[in-house]
Every structure is written in structure tokens, then in C-alpha cells.
């Protein structure tokens, strides 16, 4: 049963939840956001020890060994835990100054830690229902976080929209899960796949699996803002407090991808022929709609939200290609996107604390007013567009190369169109990214005053900046980690007969 060995697999989540409970207790004594924030940071750092050791030493831990376990700590889940924890780390670091004048500080940090714990449960789940519980934990915490500023009408509106859409998507996903459970008698990904191999198509029940699959894709598709389920994302990203927007874009959206990866690469790999076209079309639609809508946005958070939708389209390429290269490329893109998009949002948050608005016009002349933030923003935007030698280029290179490689290996030539669509879209996206850079450096702003920026927020930006540059120049070890993660995930899927 539950011994210390298997407890290792849930220790990171347990630590986070423990700190999430301790922080309100500390909040009874002090209202200082620095003490609360640094306690949260300590919790995040402690929770990162387990996954970091796993990456280095590679000895897997399984919690609650039933047939295949409910939660595992392997290379895949450890890598994603580290991604989620580092997102939580820089978000909390930036929040210490960003929320210093708000009420209800302890709840804010508690909810961030709980949301991160939910993402980590998703990363380590081997069972569809456990994964769903993790998604709900994150979603419920983030609904509350979006509405964190109670007097902010925009935040209240965004939270309502987020909650309604989130509830709808949970309903779809749960109904799909219940159908899968009824048909296959299990919600474990590996056993699900074994059932599908044992009962191939002419079986009457397989159409029910298709129905369930579509419902789950709708449910998870809302979470990752896949077109046509993306309408909520720009509103919520715009209305939420900007540090929370960073967490939604860099953390909870990635959680949806982890869920889809597990569903398609382990659970439903046996019926790949039935879903590859569907997901491929969704991927191309998502990136195209995201980029086209981003072109004429005037609010920077909205523009970044649409760019985030486009990035989701790129990552979706990994699913229909379904080779280990594609999966590793997808994971690598998630890794880099977590830092470049999160970093861009943190820059927006930092500027908001010194009264620079969200309209892109207020970014005019920023290069003179705050050289560091303007440089950071430029690097994040160029990295998002995929310009070498930044992280976004490295990950896009691996991701777009995978379909071509798969097409030459398997002869499925249509896969090449995924790469073509991705490259064309990257070119389109350059247009709106460069516009911001031009505003910052070329155009003259209304004000020329130097901006004085808090040190903790500067540190949060610097973390993202350093990682974006380092991954771009020296992608080797990071790609290796993604490659090992991909192998760990694929080791659960039963090879086709």
C-alpha cells in the first residue's frame, strides 16, 4: 500500500498544499506581502527538489500502485512539474510588488500554490479521472484568482466568463470520461489503449469511444483555447490581474496540453487513424485564427492572448504527427513558451505598476524611458516570433522539423502541410510583434520620464530573460530533457500489433 517509496511521487504536491495551508496562518499575524510571498517562494523551491532529482537520477516513483499506479513521478511528469513550478516562481516573485496594496494577500498566494499543485497532479496522473480532478483544482483556483481584485469591474466580468466557459468545458470532459469508463471499464490510459487494441473498429462500442473522444477534446480544447473554443481567452487574459494572466498563459494552458498528450499518445493511440486529421485541421485553424486576430489588436494583453492562441496551434502539431520527435518538439515548445510568453506578460505587469497603460500606444518611446524592460520585451517578442538565436527559434525548429521527418519516414506526405502552415504563420506573426518593437524604439512617446521599477519584478523579468536567451544559444541539455520526457510518456503506450 502507501509506503515511503510511493510517497515520493506525491511529495511535491503535498509540500505545495502544506504551504498553501500555512500561508493563511501566517497571514493572521502579518499583512506584509514580502513575508507571505517569500514563504510561497520557499514552498515552491522545496517542491522543486523532488522533480529536479528525478531529472538527474532517473528513478521513477509510483504512488498507489494499482494496476499501473495513479500518479507517477517519471521524466515526463518531473519535467512538467519543473516547468509549472518555475512559472509559479516568477509569478509569485512578480506578485510581491504587484499586489502589495491589495487586500486578501494570503488567499492570493494560497490559490497560486493550489493551482500549481493541480497542474502537477495533471502532469503525473496516469488515470483520466485523476487528471480531471487535477484540472478542476487548477481551474477553480484560477477562477477565483481572475476575480482577485474585487473592485475591478473588468476582473469580475472576466471571471464570470471564465467560470461559465470553464464549467461548460468541465461538463463536456466529465461526460466524455464517463462514457469512456462505461465502454472500456477503466479510466487508466494504458488499459484504455489495451481495450481499444483488443476490440478494433467493427466492434459496436468503438463509435461511443469516438463520441467520448470528441467530448473530451471539446472539454480540454476550451482549456487550451483551441479554435473554435478560444473566444473566452482574450477577454479573460485582458481582465485578469496581469501576473495571473502570465500564470494562465504559461501554466494552466500548458496543463491542457499535458492532458491532451496523455489522452492521445497513451489512451487513444490505437485509433490514431480516426483522430489525426481532426487534430491536424484544428491545429492549422488555431494558429491561423490566432495570428490573424492578433494583427489589429490595440490592447497589448489582448494581442499577447491571441498570440498565445496561435502558439497553441503550433504545439498542437505534435499530436497528429505522433512520433517521438514531434512529442519532444511539442514539449520543447511548451517549455520555451512558458518563459517567453510569461516573461512578456510580466513586463506588461511591471509597466502597469509604473502607470504605463495596456494600450500599445502607451508603449511608444519606451526604449528611452526604461531600456531594460524595452530590451526584455523585444527579446520575448522576437523569441515568440521565432528569430534566432532565441529560445523560440530552437523550439520551433525542432517542432516544425518533426512533421517533415515523419513524412519521409512513414510516407504520409500530408503531414508536411503542418510545417508549411506553421512557417507561414510565423511569418504573419512577425508583423504584429515587430510593430510593438517599432513603437518602443522608433516612435516618440508623450512622456520622456525615466521609469523606476521594483527590484523583485525586475528579478522576475530577468529570470525569464536569461532562460529565453540561454535556451536559444545552448538548447542541447534542454532538448535532451524534453526528449527523455517524450520517451518516458511513450513507454506507457502499448505498441500496435
Amino acid at each position: 500500500m502507501v509506503d515511503t517509496e510511493s510517497l515520493v511521487a506525491v511529495l511535491p504536491e503535498l509540500l505545495l498544499v502544506m504551504f498553501a495551508i500555512v500561508i493563511p496562518a501566517i497571514g493572521l499575524g502579518t499583512k506584509d506581502s514580502r513575508i507571505l510571498g517569500f514563504t510561497a517562494l520557499a514552498g515552491i523551491a522545496l517542491a522543486a527538489v523532488g522533480p529536479a532529482l528525478q531529472i538527474l537520477e532517473d528513478r521513477n516513483a509510483v504512488f498507489f500502485p494499482s494496476d499501473t499506479g495513479l500518479l507517477v513521478l517519471d521524466q515526463f511528469s518531473a519535467l512538467f512539474m519543473l516547468i509549472f513550478l518555475s512559472v509559479a516562481f516568477y509569478v509569485v516573485l512578480a506578485s510581491i510588488y504587484f499586489t502589495k496594496d491589495d487586500k486578501h494577500q494570503p488567499e492570493y498566494y494560497t490559490l497560486i500554490l493550489l493551482a500549481t499543485a493541480g497542474m502537477m497532479v495533471v502532469a503525473s496522473a496516469t488515470d483520466l479521472f485523476v487528471l480531471f480532478v487535477g484540472i478542476e483544482l487548477t481551474s477553480l483556483s484560477s477562477y477565483a484568482l481572475v476575480a482577485f481584485r474585487k473592485k475591478d469591474v473588468k476582473g469580475a466580468e472576466a471571471a464570470t466568463k471564465y467560470f461559465i466557459i470553464g464549467g461548460l468545458s468541465s461538463g463536456f470532459a466529465l461526460f466524455g470520461i464517463s462514457l469512456i469508463f462505461g465502454v472500456t471499464g477503466t479510466t487508466d490510459f494504458t488499459l484504455m489503449n489495451e481495450w481499444l487494441i483488443a476490440n478494433p473498429y467493427p466492434n459496436d462500442l468503438v463509435p461511443v469511444v469516438w463520441l467520448a473522444m470528441i467530448m473530451i477534446v471539446v472539454g480540454f480544447g476550451f482549456k487550451i483555447a483551441m479554435v473554435p473554443f478560444h473566444m473566452w481567452a482574450p477577454d479573460v487574459y485582458e481582465g485578469a490581474p496581469t501576473t495571473i494572466t502570465a500564470m494562465l498563459a504559461a501554466g494552466s494552458k500548458k496543463m491542457g496540453f499535458v492532458a491532451l498528450f496523455k489522452l492521445f499518445f497513451i489512451g487513444l493511440i490505437a485509433i490514431k487513424a480516426d483522430w489525426e486529421f481532426l487534430i491536424a485541421i484544428m491545429a492549422i485553424l488555431t494558429m491561423t485564427v490566432g495570428n490573424l486576430m492578433a494583427l489589429n489588436q490595440t490592447n497589448i494583453k489582448r494581442m499577447l492572448a491571441y498570440s498565445s492562441i496561435a502558439q497553441a496551434g503550433y504545439i498542437l502539431i505534435a499530436i497528429p504527427v505522433a512520433t517521438d520527435y514531434a512529442l519532444a518538439g511539442g514539449i520543447f515548445q511548451i517549455l520555451t513558451h512558458a518563459f517567453m510568453k510569461g516573461g512578456a506578460f510580466i513586463v506588461v505587469a511591471t509597466l502597469a505598476t509604473v502607470a504605463v497603460g495596456e494600450s500599445i500606444n502607451s508603449y511608444k518611446g519606451l526604449g528611452k524611458r526604461s531600456p531594460f524592460l524595452a530590451l526584455a520585451m523585444t527579446i520575448f517578442l522576437f523569441s515568440l516570433a521565432g528569430i534566432p538565436p532565441l529560445a523560440g527559434f530552437a523550439s520551433k525548429f525542432f517542432l516544425f522539423w518533426a512533421p517533415i521527418q515523419a513524412a519521409t519516414d512513414t510516407g504520409a506526405d500530408w503531414l508536411i502541410w503542418l510545417s508549411v502552415a506553421g512557417i507561414i504563420n510565423s511569418a504573419i506573426s512577425l508583423f504584429y510583434y515587430v510593430r510593438i518593437v517599432k513603437y518602443m524604439y522608433v516612435e516618440k512617446g508623450e512622456s520622456e520620464d525615466k521609469l523606476v521599477i521594483s527590484k523583485t519584478m525586475m528579478a522576475a523579468v530577468a529570470i525569464c530573460l536569461i532562460l529565453t536567451v540561454v535556451i536559444g544559444i545552448y538548447p542541447g541539455p534542454f532538448y535532451d530533457a524534453c526528449w527523455n520526457a517524450a520517451q518516458a510518456l511513450l513507454s506507457y503506450s502499448v505498441p500496435l500489433p
Binding site: F129, A144, V153, T160, F163, F172, I177, G182
Partner: protein, 107 residues
Amino acid sequence: MSVEFTTGIPLSWFLLVSATLFTIGVIGILVKRNAIVILMSIELMLNAANINFVAFSAYYDLPMGQVFAMFSIGLAAAEAAVGLAILLNLNRLKDTVHVDDLNIMRW
């Protein structure tokens, strides 16, 4: 347990009820404009899934189904709590819970 059930109401009836509930829930979300009614429709969708879990659990002798149903009842309760809090705050700020009035942010 499964034997006792199979002689009574067939499984398909349960599935029919849950599918109907689910459809009512989806239509409710799409058609109704009052956020509280939408919240109720979301609960309907989750409960439809619960009926499925329990029915499958009884007919195929899968005890996990009932565990799942209990977990999802807990989740639905938590969701309602967070949702009502958000709607309460919205009502306090804008004096409405009509989703058509949520129009500060467009495109």
C-alpha cells in the same frame, strides 16, 4: 449486485436519462441569459455524468464508478461555491447577473 439490476430497468434507460439531462444542460447554457440559471445548467451536465458513472458501476460491477461519482459531486459543490462567489461579486459591482451585460471587453 449486477444480476439484481439486469432483471429490472435496462441500462439504456439510465443512459437515456443522462443524455437528456446533459442536452438540457448544454441548451440551457447556450440559450439562457441569467448567470445563475447557467450555473444550474452546468450542474445538470455534471450530474448527467454522475448518473452515467453510477449506472455503469452497477451494471458492470465496477466499484470505481461510485468513487468517481462521489469525487465529482464534491467537485460540483466546490465549483458552485466558487461560481456563486464570483456571481455575487459581479452583482455587487454591476447590479446584474445577466450575461448580455458583460460587454466591457469585445474582440
